[in-house]
Amino acid sequence: MGARLQAYWRVLNRPSAHFSLGFLTVGGFVAGIIFWGGFNTALELTNTETFCISCHEMRDNVYAELQGTIHFSNRSGVRATCPDCHVPHEWTNKIARKTQASKELWGKIFRTIDTPEKFAAKRRELAEHEWARLKANDSLECRNCHDFAFMDFTQQSPRAGKAHERFVTTREKTCIDCHKGIAHTLPDMSGVPGWQ
C-alpha cells in the first residue's frame, strides 16, 4: 500500500518529460475553464424548477400545492420557482445546501416519500428543516425578493402594515415566524409556536 502511494507521488512530483511548460500552462488554463464552467452549468441545471419537478415526489405534492398560491399565480405575473426559496443564491451557501441535498438523493433511491401517505407522514419533519433554515438565516430567501428596505407599509393592507412595523422593524420576528405555509400545505401544526 505504502509502496504504491509512493509510486503515485513520484509520478506527480517529477517534472514533465514530454509536455512543454507552455502547453501545461495553457492546457491547464483551458481545462480549468471547461471543468469549472461545466461544473457550474451542471450546478445551475440542478437549480431549475424543471429539474426539481422531474421527480414525481416534488411534481405531485409540493409543486401541485404551489400552483394555487400567490407565489405562482398573481396579478403581476412574477413568480417564484423552487430554487428561489429553497436554495441560497449566494455561492458558498448554495454549495453547502447542494451538498446537504445529497441526502435527498438517498431519499429518492430508498423511496422515503414516494407515496402520498409516506410524504404526509414525513411532512412535518421536512417542513421543520425549512423553517429552521429560514429562521437561522433571517428569512434570507424571502428577502431576496421582498426587500425590507423598499417595503412601503402604507401600500399594504392596514393589518399587514401594522404587523410588519411592529415585528419586522424591531427585528422581533422574521418572515417565516408568521408566514408559514404560504406556498405549500402545512403539516400537522400541533405544538408549533403560534399555532393551535
Binding site: 392596514p158 415585528f167 403539516p187 400537522d188
Partner: protein, 154 residues
C-alpha cells in the same frame, strides 16, 4: 270556463315566451339558455380591516380582510394563528368568542370546540360587489326605532 282557464294557464308560458325569458334573464344575462353567458369580472375583496356592524345580534361577524390560501383543516387552522386566545396579544385581532369553546352539551373546553373549528362555515369575507338581487332587510333597531327613541327620552 274552468277548462278554458286551465288551457290558458298552460299555454301562457309558451305564448308569453318573451316575458318568461326576460324574468329568467335578470340574473344570468341575455345569453340563450343553451349557451354560457360571459362571466362578470371578478370583484375585489373587502380588505379594509374595519369591522362592519352586525345586521342582527346573532350574526356571525364577516371577515373584513382577505383570507386567500388560509388553510383550515385537520392539520392547521390559519385563522387561529391570530384569533386564538393566546395569539391576540401579538395580533391584536379580536379573540374568537367564548361561545366557540362550548361543546354541544354546554361544557366549556380549553380550546375551540371541534364543532366550531371550521371558521368559514359561518364567517366569510365580503366582496365589493353590487348585490344581484334587491334586499329589503330592515335593521331591527330601525324597525322599532321610534319606539326605542321614545323610551330612551322618557
Amino acid at each position: 270556463m274552468r277548462a278554458f282557464a286551465l288551457a290558458f294557464a298552460l299555454a301562457l308560458p309558451f305564448s308569453g315566451g318573451a316575458l318568461a325569458q326576460d324574468s329568467v334573464a335578470t340574473l344570468r344575462g341575455a345569453a340563450p339558455l343553451a349557451e354560457q353567458g360571459e362571466a362578470p369580472s371578478m370583484t375585489k375583496i373587502n380588505n379594509t380591516d374595519i369591522r362592519p356592524p352586525r345586521n342582527y345580534p346573532e350574526q356571525p361577524p364577516t371577515i373584513p380582510h382577505s383570507i386567500r390560501d388560509y388553510q383550515i383543516d385537520t392539520s392547521a387552522n390559519k385563522c387561529m394563528s391570530c384569533h386564538s386566545r393566546r395569539a391576540v396579544e401579538d395580533s391584536q385581532a379580536p379573540m374568537v368568542s367564548i361561545t366557540h369553546f362550548m361543546s354541544r352539551d354546554g361544557q366549556f373546553l380549553a380550546t375551540i370546540s371541534p364543532r366550531r373549528y371550521f371558521c368559514t362555515q359561518c364567517h366569510v369575507p365580503q366582496h365589493l360587489a353590487k348585490p344581484l338581487v334587491a334586499n329589503d332587510f330592515v335593521d331591527m333597531d330601525d324597525l322599532v326605532g321610534k319606539g326605542a327613541d321614545r323610551r330612551g327620552r322618557r
